[in-house]
């Protein structure tokens, strides 16, 4: 299986936590092109191998995972279009580096969910931990609950929608993309952001460095209306818009090797 090439080469494991066995158990029940995995007795690696085997090798496009039990790193690295549903809570690093899947999580996710997501849709029907959607580059990430701190840190694209309250440093160092925060927001919103847009419906505790209010335009409203329509979130409430003030743009435009040529 291409997706797991390289995993069998792990040679350093001082803490004895690596699961060496990479055989796919094949315990998924496939019916009418839909697969169901009961994860209650499976380890993280067995669950992930099972999912990859289904979507990459067996061509299944709809996978449901029952009883994930808050385990870490589930559903990571799925680089193809498919539908995944998790019936339960996930732990840390859930759904990291995915490119394409349409995921529904009926439960909570821990820290660093959807880190570096490239494309796809993730809807979390529950709360999320800190660093949700860190460095995402594309796709939609919808959290129907509250999130911890630093949501969308280093965001480089895509849209993050949060219906509940958000913690401190939301949109920290974001570079592109959009955030729609429908609840109250903690201190240092958009701290040191480079670019991108943050829409907030609730109260903002404080703005971070170089994050300034912007003017809502018709395009903004249309974008929000469409996105909220897509995820059954009703019509847009009154929104504040925040963008980068570009006061911290102190670097020059040249790369170090270019500068040498000029000087």
């Amino acid at each position: 299986m291409d997706a797991v090439v390289g995993e069998s080469q792990i040679t350093y494991d001082a803490r004895g936590l690596v699961e060496v066995d990479d055989t796919v158990l094949g315990v998924a029940v496939v019916k009418d092109g839909k697969a169901t995995i009961d994860a209650s007795e499976l380890t993280t690696r067995k669950i992930n191998l099972e999912i990859r085997s289904l979507v990459y090798e067996q061509g299944i496009e709809d996978v449901t995972i029952l009883n994930p039990g808050g385990k870490h790193s589930l559903g990571v690295g799925i680089l193809t279009r498919c539908k995944m549903t998790f019936e339960g809570s996930l732990g840390y690093f859930a759904l990291g580096v995915i490119d394409g899947p349409e995921v529904t999580v009926n439960g909570r996710v821990g820290w660093s969910a959807c880190e570096n997501m490239m494309a796809g849709v993730v809807v979390i029907n529950g709360n999320a931990g800190s660093l949700t959607g860190a460095a995402i580059r594309g796709g939609d990430l919808v959290i129907k609950g509250r999130v911890g701190a630093r949501t969308g840190i280093d965001q480089k694209g895509g849209t993050i929608i949060i219906t509940g309250a958000a913690g401190s440093n939301t949109g920290f160092m974001m570079q592109r993309g959009r955030q729609l925060l429908l609840g109250d927001v903690g201190p240092h919103l958009g701290d040191s952001m480079y670019d991108g847009i943050i829409y907030v419906a609730g109260k903002v505790k404080s703005l971070g460095a170089d994050c300034v209010p912007g003017e809502m335009t018709d395009e903004d409203l249309e974008f929000v209306t469409r996105k909220m329509g897509l995820y059954d979130l009703g019509t847009p409430p009154e929104l504040q818009k925040f963008v980068c003030g570009k006061k911290l743009y102190n670097y020059d435009n040249l790369e170090p090797h270019e500068r040498k040529l000029v000087l």
Binding site: G91, R146, G167, S168
Partner: protein
């Protein structure tokens, strides 16, 4: 990295030893160096004091066993000298002991006297508090100290990945808030104004057992409590006065508190129901004691919460 966990039952005593063991074992990946428990059993009139007579790293040379016996009887002598009447001595392992005694004097005098015996550390002292900590994962420590059958109302625990000081019992959490009876602290994070507070607290007469930054929190809270500040107020003040990244849990005879720093840099997941409150660095630990799908959330930055059983 470290992992912390805490549990408080609102409907009377439960198997707190077994529950904490499961919670901590599920977070072994966060810290395999040492594990510690602070458990509250049934309160009694008498004091219970857990001590170590040597650390796990102390050299086991030829008269090591004799020295332990000698120290144990020295401790007993010191207790008698300050007016405590010892009713029971439980020799859990060769280098740790639990003393049960009646005492009505000043706890600091007593603890100072006990620690004047060479290499002896008081791990905990109180009417219900028992701190057990040693090197190894949660199951190893629980088996070594027979915690599986321990019944209690609340407790906290810690799995440690040592970053700032040695892997030994002195560096393991939880820390007892010396000399404040029945108060203990576990901490996940780093404190950056450690020496500032250490010098300051040392000047006001407190002693430090270890070079571990987390001990500051226990001593800091002990001083605040001694001044008459409530636990919640003391924890709120610590948000301003302690620098660094931290999430810590504090337990007293009847309550459990959590505090998270201004940056929310260290995780904590919270579950609250009518019968039980469970907090842990990872949800996976809470699921060990509350099976099935549950609603949990992360407390926000700078939050202090205290629950009373």
């Amino acid at each position: 990295m470290c992992g912390i966990a805490g549990i408080i039952y609102r409907d009377g005593p439960h198997a707190v030893g077994e529950d904490m063991k499961q919670m901590l074992q599920s977070m072994k990946h966060r810290g395999p160096d040492s594990t510690g428990y602070a458990l509250y059993g049934t309160p009694s009139e008498a004091f219970r004091m857990r001590i170590t007579l040597a650390d796990t790293n102390t050299k086991r040379d030829f008269d090591f066993a004799e020295r332990l016996v000698r120290r144990r009887s020295e401790v007993e002598g010191k207790l008698r000298a300050v007016g405590a009447s010892v009713t029971e001595i439980d020799e859990t392992t060769d280098y740790t002991s639990t003393f049960t005694f009646d005492y009505s004097g000043d706890l600091k005098t007593l603890a100072d006297q006990v620690e004047s015996v060479r290499d002896t550390q008081v791990l905990s002292l109180g009417h219900a508090l028992e701190i057990v900590k040693d090197i190894g994962d949660a199951e190893t420590v629980a088996a070594q100290y027979n915690l599986d059958k321990m019944q209690g109302t609340h407790g906290i625990g810690h799995v440690r990945m040592a970053t700032e000081s040695d892997v030994d019992i002195a560096g393991a959490h939880p820390y007892w808030a010396y000399p404040f009876s029945d108060v203990a602290v576990v901490h996940n994070g780093q404190l950056t104004n450690y020496f500032y507070w250490r010098r300051r607290l040392e000047r006001s007469g407190h002693r430090f057992q270890s070079a571990c930054d987390s001990e500051i929190i226990a001593v800091y809270l002990a001083e605040k409590l001694a001044e008459g500040t409530s636990l919640e107020d003391a924890m709120t003040q610590s948000m301003e006065e302690l620098d660094g990244v931290f999430t810590y849990l504090c337990v007293t005879a009847d309550s459990l508190g959590m505090a998270k720093d201004e940056l929310a840099a260290k995780p904590l997941v919270l579950y609250e129901s009518d019968n039980i409150i469970a907090v842990a660095s990872e949800e996976i630990a809470i699921r060990e004691v509350v099976p099935g799908e549950i609603e949990t959330y992360d407390p926000f930055e700078g939050e202090v919460m205290v629950w009373t059983r």
